[in-house]
């Protein structure tokens, strides 16, 4: 028994076992991707930056300026300005801006959105944002609906 232990110690057995694990892993398939050239597919629920959307059938903007998303936003990054419609029923959206610098991607704004069957505000799959200017990150209504202008850089 003691002799066996000594032999094991002398032969560095546990270190060789560890080396064997590393060697086995050399031949496993890669699980990383080379990011800018390849990208991973997102889960459908992935929370990127919040956006506004149009009704897919009629093409009209869905937001009814109920201010619920503005009320629940923990970082107060949404600001909505609206005015009463001329006929007195409902409101017209004047401006809708989201400050992406403050947004914490929590997705709480989507929960209370009352428009059915799809919500006016939603968490998009966009995540790549870089800019030289802080103004880029304050997105107005047009940019929220159509998407921020993406500038592509040559490598």
């Amino acid at each position: 028994m003691i002799f066996g232990n000594l032999l094991r110690k002398f032969l560095l057995l546990e270190l060789w076992q560890g080396m064997w694990v590393t060697l086995k892993n050399q031949f496993r398939p890669h699980i990383t991707v080379e990011y800018p050239r390849e990208t991973l597919e997102f889960a459908p629920r992935f929370r990127g930056v919040p956006r506004l959307r149009r009704d897919p059938q009629t093409g009209e903007e869905l937001c009814i300026s109920c201010l619920l998303c503005e009320a629940i936003c923990p970082t107060e990054c949404i600001s909505i300005v609206s005015e009463k419609k001329a006929d007195g029923k409902g409101k017209d959206l004047v401006s809708f801006t989201i400050n992406y610098e403050r947004c914490c991607f929590c997705g709480l704004c989507v929960d209370p959105c009352p428009t059915k069957p799809i919500t006016a505000i939603y968490m998009s799959h966009d995540y790549e944002f870089a800019g030289y200017d802080r103004d880029v990150y304050v997105a107005d209504r047009r940019e929220l609906v159509d998407g921020l202008p993406v500038k592509l850089y040559d490598r």
Binding site: L15, Q17, T22, R45, R47, I72, C73, P74, C106, G107
Partner: protein, 365 residues
Amino acid sequence: MFRTEMMDINMGPQHPATHGVLRLKLLLDGETVTDTDVIIGYLHRGVEKLCETKNYHMIEPYTDRLDYVAAMYENLGYVETVEKLMGVKVPERAEYIRVITAELQRIASHLVWLGTHALDIGAMTVFFYCFREREIILDLFEAFCGARLTYNAYRIGGLPWDLPPGWTDRARHFVKIFPERQKEYDTLLTKNRIWLGRTKGVGILRAEDAIDFGVTGPCLRSAGVDYDLRKAHPYSVYDRFQFDVPVTYNCDTYDRYLIRMEEMRQSTRIVEQALDHLPAGEVMAKVPKRIKPPAGEVYHTVEGPRGELGFYIVSQGEDKPYRMRFRSPSFVNLQALPHMIRGSLVADVVAVIGTLDIVLGDVDR
């Protein structure tokens, strides 16, 4: 002519082994640590005060950012505290899904701990393997709640979404392959003589000291105290699952390593059982949109990966808490650090910080 002198050494705040912005002022006698000053507060954001200005829904994303390595537990503790205050009964299915995701989070958190702890001590390979397995869990979380780190996955009264189709099969696949993968870490570390040399007898924290300091979690259980909130004060549906609480008696870094390894196995067991008995039905209880708990105060704890994670809320019947207090395990465990490294070598400081498994977002809040 020749004289010896004590020397002050600053470790951190920008040090790779302090796992964040922690500054230690070590008073050294040669290479022996005689005294330590732990200086924290570099990551202080004033979340507790901030919570007094937010309503109960808005606070949840903030709890994500306390202990960002195990954000699921912060969410769980917070929503359960508010539910306790309001007396809401959460649907069965939501409770089970919470247990599944929380236990997966415990595995993910321990994998980060194991990887970085081994990396600090010098075993680099384990780090890559741990993060490979953690990736599978993060993918599961992304499919469930849409985020990989700051989940905001629960709501007061249940869950915002049910599990996506095919999720349980993927989770089952993970718990099937994970024990195999864990054997690899075992082979690399458990009997490795360098690992043994660096961790055995290092950072001793005896049971009476641990209790005096208020240390909880694996650090307490390594001293032989069988105290796990999941068994001691079962919350959620933990009383329905069969699992063991590992306890060891040597009080050192190596024992804490063994305990966390065993906890990962037990978590796998819990996830397996919860997946088997996952009931059907609703995931959201009937709660008012504007949450106004009755006036009163409540304290609720959950067993996080680092120890007892407590939430204390004083409500005055408004939609905002009057006072919010987090009992974060990292903060409490950190105060045992000077005691644990007194008399040991400088090189062991890194091992002891690693074994305490602190997250500085949780320490400073």
